[in-house]
Structure formats: structure tokens, C-alpha cells
Subunit: 248 residues, 2 copies
DNA sequence: ATTACTATTCTACGAGTAT
DNA sequence: TATACTCGTAGAATAGTAA
């Protein structure tokens, strides 16, 4: 997802960050709330209302009855759970928003075990020094990209800067073959081997490339048949997510 | 899983139960710990060590650096994470136990969305009043069970008492067809319709049965080609888990 | 039985800082 | 830069009950 939100404030370098728990965004529910939703779902709370007293729920989540009761109230307030008071016990049903939370959680666990056929890498758009344009103009590269990726590259690269955690995904990327772009020489100099992986940004085809050497760099370069910056209206500092096909 | 652990203390009816967080059992990790493991797995901590500073980890789990650091120490103490100090940042790898936690979590979410092809129902063994033996001796039932379940029933039923939360699974069960055992009459009386679902306990075949009427009962009856009590050495009050095939 | 209030305990978070 | 200590405190969890 390309987000055109330029960060005006230049990332105030606060050392210890306050948690920033915002209302409304459903995906960032607290782990305890996700656990509670999961347990309700496991006894059928997705398909229809389940009859679940706060005492029984307490056993399910390993807490006291009071905490269980409070959790249900909180989930209801957050809109993740729908509640109806039965004659005795309450009836609980997971709401559309709650289902969304569960789906995202399930997707995360699927990604873990799908051995990363697809890697979603997030980063921020960075301004290169224009060398990308120079490299992508080389005939030796252009013809190979055409052959091995199936598109004519726009002369230029989009640089994406990765934070510390995302850097680890580059190691996964490098562990997979991708497409090898061979080195070649001109009269002037030699151009080194490059690895390329088919990718997409918002369903539009592109490719992620990394030079064979030079690990530990914080930047992933992206090429495409079009000018990505203008296509997505990207500015330096914008957040960007690229979906890299790691398998084929 | 049939557990032959008879509970000596007759379930002290404490109102507000203390959480009972025990050491060593890996499946009951705190939700926060599972969330942390998940995030590490998502950047490749299953495949190999990932380089992750406590500050970067803090961003990942939405906490301060101090909390992130503490979480890593706790996960390491619990044996869910293996840590090695690199020259700068630490290297984290999810341990075999940690992977087990992730697998169980993934399995739970899979169960939620696989629409319950299999229902795992837990309960405690309950002594019936011997009527099960009377019913299962009726020729009208025996021949139908033979036809529709594929085994000769042992004359008797094992009664499993369900707690409030597990009761909801019976609603799911009833929502699926199972095998219909038709009503029939003898000279003396009429025997009503019964629903049966193929099932297994510790991989040994059996079936769960419910009378067509009489909802809201806390008991699930189990029949099998053998005497389950002696097969598994079950006593009243023992915990029991049955795997019911809800699809076919 | 239930749910859920108020009061109290205590855990766990983050500030400050050492290393 | 890192990691991780101590410590004050906010908020979560439970006890005791009310409804």
C-alpha cells in the first residue's frame, strides 16, 4: 500500500516512545483482546452467538470472573464484539470488525508458515543521488531486465530505506535465488552482478534489486516499467510497502 | 487426549480463581509473549537468526525500549527464544519450543476459519445411570449403527459432561447433518430419532450421539466398538477430549 | 444463578541512568 | 551506539459485594 502521507514533523527523535494506543484502528487491538476474541471464535462466536457466562469465559482466558467481565465490556466498547443479555447467560457474537482482526491475525500466522513465498517489505521513500538513472540506462542491464523480468525498465530507480527490523527480510530475500542479472563491461567500466525479484506495489508490477555484494545496506532499490514516484505521487519520507515474490 | 488423572480434590469451588500461571508448559504463554514471538517470526526469526535491537523490537511490538528488552529476556528465560549477542545488535532466533507455540497458535486460527471440519470437544467423564446399556442393546439401534457408522456398538455409552463454554460446540454439531438414526418401535415402546457423528478418541474410532430433541443438556454421549472406560482406564471425573468429524 | 460495581493489591510499564 | 538495571507509578487484576 503506497501512502501519500508525507511526514511534516521530521520524526521527533524521542528516545523512549509512548505507546500511542489510538482509538478506532481495529488491527492494533491489545494482545489480550486478540486472545479473548480467538477463544470466543473457537467455540463458534463467528458463526453465531455463543452462550458464555463471564465465569466460563474466565476459565477460557485464564483470569478471574471480574477480569473476564471487564474484557467483554471492553471488547464490546471497541466494537469487536456484539453482546445481548440472555435470560441467564449473555450471548456473544464476534462483529464484522472483530472478524477483521481475527482474519489479519490468521493471515500473519499463515505468512509465517507459508515460508515466505511472498515478502511484504515496508520502508520509506528515499532520494537517491541519481545514479539509479545512470545504471538503468546501460544497455547491458536493460536487455537483461527485459528478458528476465518481462518489462522495459524506466530509466531510474526508487530507493526504499528500511528500518532495522525490515532489514532482516533482505537476508531472507538473498537466501532465495530470484533472477540473476549478469555482469558485463563497456569500454569505460565493468558493471557487477545484480539479483532481481519480481514484485508489485499496489498490484502494479515492478522488481526489487540488490547488488550481489554490499550487504548491510539499509536500502532496497526498486525498478519498474513506469516512473513510480509520479505514478503513486510519492515524496521523500513517504511510507511504502512492496510485495516481493520470493519463490519463483 | 484421554488423561487418566483422577482429580482427588473434588474441585474446590473457589469463586474467584487465581490465574494459575505455571512454569514450563509452553502452550500457555502470555498473549504479549505470543505477540512478540509472532513479530519476530514475521521478520524471519524461524528460518534463522535475525538482527534486532531492542529499540527496533520496541517499534515492532508498540512499546518502549525498556519493555522490549525485558520481553526478550523473559522469552529467553521461558526457552521460547534463543539469543546471541552480536558485535552490535543482538541476534534472535525462535527456539523449537517457541516454534511449537507458534504452530499451536496458527492451528487455532486455522480451526476458526476452516469452518470446523473437526470439532475437538473436551469434558469430564460422568457416570450414567446405566440407561445407555439398555438403549444400545436394542436391535433397532444396533443394526442402524452398524450400517451407518460401520461398527458394532459395545452395549453401553460413555457420558461426557461439558462445561459452559464447550456447550456451544454442541450447537455447531447440531447445525451439521451427521448420520440420522431413525426412530423405531418395539412391542413395549418407541425409541426416538438420534443424530450420530463419527469421532475418535486418541485415534480410536467411536461416535458422538445426541437425541434429536432435548437441547440444553450438559452431556454428550459416546459410543464405540469397545468398552471405552476400560480401554483408556477412565474414572468418573477424568478429563477427556473427543475429536468429532463434523463434515461428512 | 448471573453481571459488574467499588476498593484494594500488585503487576508491568517506562523514566532515568549505568554499563 | 548497544542492553538492561532500579524505581516510582499508572493501570490492570482480583476481592468483596451489590443488584
Amino acid at each position: 500500500v503506497a501512502q501519500g502521507v508525507a511526514q511534516a514533523t521530521k520524526e521527533t527523535t524521542a528516545k523512549t516512545v509512548p505507546p500511542e494506543r489510538e482509538q478506532s484502528h481495529p488491527e492494533d487491538a491489545a494482545p489480550q483482546d486478540k486472545e479473548a476474541l480467538k477463544q470466543i471464535a473457537l467455540i463458534g462466536g463467528v458463526q453465531g452467538p455463543v452462550e458464555l457466562s463471564s465465569t466460563d469465559f474466565a476459565r477460557l482466558i485464564g483470569s478471574s470472573q471480574q477480569t473476564a467481565s471487564r474484557r467483554i465490556l471492553q471488547l464490546t466498547e471497541q466494537g469487536l464484539l456484539q453482546r445481548e443479555m440472555g435470560m441467564k447467560k449473555q450471548l456473544l457474537k464476534i462483529s464484522a470488525e472483530g472478524l477483521e482482526v481475527l482474519k489479519q491475525e490468521a493471515a500473519a500466522y499463515r505468512r509465517i508458515f507459508e515460508l515466505f513465498q511472498v515478502l511484504n517489505i515496508r520502508g520509506t521513500v528515499q532520494s537517491g543521488v541519481g545514479e539509479g538513472k545512470y545504471y538503468m540506462s546501460q544497455e547491458g542491464y536493460r536487455t537483461q531486465f527485459q528478458q528476465k523480468l518481462g518489462f522495459d525498465v524506466y530509466p531510474g530507480t526508487l530507493n526504499m530505506e528500511l528500518d532495522g527490523a525490515e532489514m532482516n527480510k533482505l537476508r531472507i530475500l538473498r537466501a532465495h535465488p530470484g533472477r540473476l542479472i549478469e555482469s558485463f563491461s563497456t569500454n569505460e567500466r565493468t558493471f557487477g552482478e545484480v539479483h532481481a525479484w519480481k514484485a508489485s506495489i499496489d498490484s502494479r508490477p515492478c522488481a526489487a534489486i540488490l547488488p550481489k555484494r554490499s550487504h548491510h545496506k539499509r536500502v532496497l532499490e526498486i525498478i519498474a516499467p513506469e516512473h513510480l514516484r509520479s505514478r503513486f505521487g510519492l515524496e521523500d519520507g513517504d511510507e511504502l510497502e512492496i510485495r516481493v515474490e520470493v519463490s519463483g
